[in-house]
């Protein structure tokens, strides 16, 4: 079993990816204006499952461009932790390895990626092929 866990700087948001060994996970550096400003380097795999754990109000959901995905930012410390999209096949996601300080990527250089000019349909199909099935849970059990 392979399970990688990380969290934002303040700990209000945690996330994990499970099911694929770290060495088999892609490591990508999207070159868009959002990812560059956040210094993001991301991972996902269709054979792995991503879980975000955060309490109500702990995450800021930011949408831009084609507005197909929510970019998740910790409302307390500003860390960009990952992105979550709803599709006809259910929610899918990527994780920001740097923002979560996810282990297992030390010494690797993320591959620069450019997705300019994609149609919304092509973008969704690419994401369905590469992103991970995902879910969100509360960080603390509610009383």
């Amino acid at each position: 079993m392979t399970l990688l866990k990380g969290q934002c700087h303040c700990g209000a948001v945690r996330a994990s990816i499970e099911g694929v060994a770290a060495g088999e996970l892609p490591y990508r550096a999207c070159q868009c204006g959002f990812c560059r400003r956040h210094g993001a380097a991301t991972t996902s795999h269709p054979g792995a499952t991503i879980v975000f754990a955060a309490d109500e109000g702990a995450l800021t959901r930011y949408r831009f461009g084609q507005k197909l995905s929510n970019f998740l930012v910790c409302a307390t410390c500003g860390s960009y932790v990952g992105s979550l999209a709803d599709t006809d096949a259910g929610p899918i996601a990527i994780l920001n390895v740097r923002g979560l300080d996810l282990p297992g990527f030390e010494g690797r250089t993320p591959e620069p990626m450019t997705y300019d000019g994609e149609t919304p349909e092509a973008r969704t199909e690419r994401r369905k092929a590469r992103w991970s099935p995902a879910r969100t849970t509360a960080l603390h059990a509610s009383a």
Binding site: F34, G39, Y62, G78, D101
Partner: protein
């Protein structure tokens, strides 16, 4: 002001809610820090005195995060989360601007040096001169 060695350059967060201007020379030294905070954002530090920085839009959209000694004031856009600039612990009298957030780096040479922020107590003082105003 044609004699000034500095040129004002604009930048901002992703959503456009926070905008700033910073005066830098054509060749500027910047620090890439390995501390727990900077590693999460890949922040490229261009540290300047108070007089060479101004917020031009969205000061009310900034959220503040502090930790440890709470001297550094980590500021980020409450809409898109981008940290364009902040008050660093090493230079609380000045500002550290994120080179990743400049609109354009045309004609600007950014020389990035590694800063060992994991051992901040031993290294922090080496940056203090960067925010001193000219005499």
């Amino acid at each position: 002001m044609t004699d000034s060695p500095f040129q004002w350059r604009a930048g901002g967060c992703h959503c456009g809610g926070v905008r700033f201007e910073v005066a830098v020379p054509d060749r500027v030294e910047a620090q890439s820090c390995n501390c727990s905070m900077c590693a999460k954002t890949g922040f490229v530090h261009v540290i300047v005195p108070e007089s060479r920085f101004r917020v031009t839009k969205g000061i009310d959209r900034l959220a503040e995060y502090t930790f440890n000694t709470r001297v550094a004031k980590h500021l980020f856009c409450s809409e898109c989360g981008v940290k364009s600039f902040y008050r660093p612990r090493s230079n609380p009298d000045g500002w550290s601007v994120n080179a990743r957030c400049l609109d354009s780096v045309e004609g600007l040479e950014i020389v990035i040096e590694a800063f060992d922020g994991q051992n901040w107590e031993a290294n922090g003082a080496s940056l203090a001169h960067l925010s001193k105003e000219p005499a």
